[in-house]
Symmetry: D2
């Protein structure tokens, strides 16, 4: 059994809906258990995070970066960092905002930085870019052409119903990829010095 934790902040429901898609993708991989943890519960559920083989981080992009609520979680993780508690776990990340770019790149880069500070191994999105040729469309997987992690887009005046079906599929693919990588990584743990 390998364990994937997904820790996220959602202000208006979009990030939560996409976190659930990541969870669904991970759960579809046999012998994988998934914990879905809102940042507000992270401190109380620290044991689940510490026990996870992989942690996926998710934050909306607010004013070009991590939401304050996610940043509070980030700062709290210094307690885990002091102990090296997440060292050599796998990590991945996702974000969503109203614009097609909207500096989402920046948010994913923050999540990557957090992960490598903890000594974690980063699993990128691993999907070729879609929606970038004359035969492509927004129905393509990875329609935004992301690489560090998964990016979603939903109009500023819409709720969860504004998220494209292809974004849900893209986030599921990230969850599946992380769970598969976790099983592979999990099978020979003695090989990397703590």
């Amino acid at each position: 059994m390998s364990k994937v934790a997904i820790v996220y902040h959602s202000g208006f429901g979009h990030t939560q809906a996409l976190a659930e898609a990541v969870a669904a993708g991970a759960r579809a991989v046999a012998s994988t258990s998934v914990s879905l943890i809102p940042v507000a519960e992270a401190e109380a559920r620290a044991a689940e995070l510490d026990a996870a083989d992989a942690i996926v981080f998710g934050s909306p992009t607010y004013m070009g970066g991590l939401s304050a609520e996610f940043a509070r979680f980030k700062d709290w993780t210094s307690s885990r960092w002091m102990q090296g508690a997440w060292r050599n776990k796998l990590a991945a990340g996702f974000t969503v905002s109203a614009s097609w770019n909207g500096d989402k790149h920046n948010t994913l880069y923050q999540l990557l930085t957090l992960a490598v500070q903890h000594g974690m191994i980063w699993i990128g999105l691993g999907l070729p870019p879609g929606n970038n040729s004359s035969t492509g469309s927004i129905a393509d997987l990875n329609r935004l052409g992301a690489s560090i992690g998964a990016m979603g887009q939903a109009n500023a005046d819409q709720g969860v119903e504004g998220i494209a079906a292809s974004d849900f599929k893209t986030f599921e693919a990230l969850g599946r990829r992380v769970a598969e990588a976790t099983q592979r990584w999990h099978e020979a743990p003695q090989r990397l010095a703590a």
Copy 2:
């Protein structure tokens, strides 16, 4: 008369077409002269760059960053850096690639880094994000929602005809903004110590 130089690399014509849009926007501002300089001519036209009040940098995004041709120009600018030749000039940047994100952010960030190493002042795009509500469309200015500089998108299997009209208008707006800022900055030059 204030002087704006636009230095760019174009592999397949897209960046050149967009550089010309930036030039058109800058030329539309009274008392502005514009130099459009392909990176291959930059060394020979160094005097034009040194005389400019503002330099706009443009590179396609190849494999998530500056094209090698633009990077060669970047490295060459160390000769100007040694002399502080571009200190306190204004700067801005633009890029284009096939994907909607496609790590274009990264390329703009490289251009910004180059500029601040030279002690230049960075003029962002200055347009609110478009195409991010249910009443928006790809006809909006800044349809990709960029902020550091201008971002364009053209399908991988199309030439210049694949660039959206709104991208041309967005790049013109950047040129106009840079030219206006340059005039403003140019009028009281004694205020910032060389």
Copy 3:
């Protein structure tokens, strides 16, 4: 009279001491008034921020990015963004952490991203790198070799007394530079369309 506001978060006093150095540098420029605003007071003092000609942002680097307290301020600025209240103001940034690099770059990049989302103009540090030749030392200005903004370093087990004198001078130089640029920018305000 031109107005410079410095808005910062300080967890243990280091960022505050350096914010005061930025303020001292700005105040040394004639006809400049300076507001020093802790993020906890930013909402109550929003009018000072809106009236400023330049805003300097300062955050410690915690776990590779903005502190949660600064991120809360960042998110709050969406109210100013909606109104375009800070458009075409000048901006700059600074950070401090215990390590020589310690991903401080990332924090400055967040501050830059915030500024360009607001349509602000970014003033980098504008000092050549020090402490990078066999005749250099940590007494050099810009001993860390920063370019986007000012970087300070203080050992993890020391308070304000652990900040190098050269860091204080570097931060003063940033304040002076911002104030000089603000006066220059301020003299011909009609040139850039609101």
Copy 4:
């Protein structure tokens, strides 16, 4: 036997000396073969890169980013990207410049972006920051406090003799970490869908 390739550009010898330290660290791990490939030979030795289980990328930081020579290699890798030839390999990166920061962060971020575009898995440095307390010194491992990859520093007026012994040890530690992770990853390759 697991295979680690190190592909690098060195303008003045510093990056080559550090690439050799990465190689030495990797070779110290049993059952690991190491290829050390200057970018000028990368095209001719593409088969070695394609056969590697892990690729470590190294570039000096020139004017805040990848050297033009490394960027040429980066652009060439689009031929491997088209075939998904490096998908799910492990990756890591390193850089060196004269300043303590000097925007080295930016170079490592470029290397990371290249890797995730290829669908590679990123192994950060994995060392806690050194030289950041009153009992620390530049003799500490990771004296610069890097996290995404390894950072070295050598004075601008010195050759390889200017590189600190601790930097060599830090780069060796990166090589060892990559080789250990490669063996672990290599043992259960069937788990991650190509």
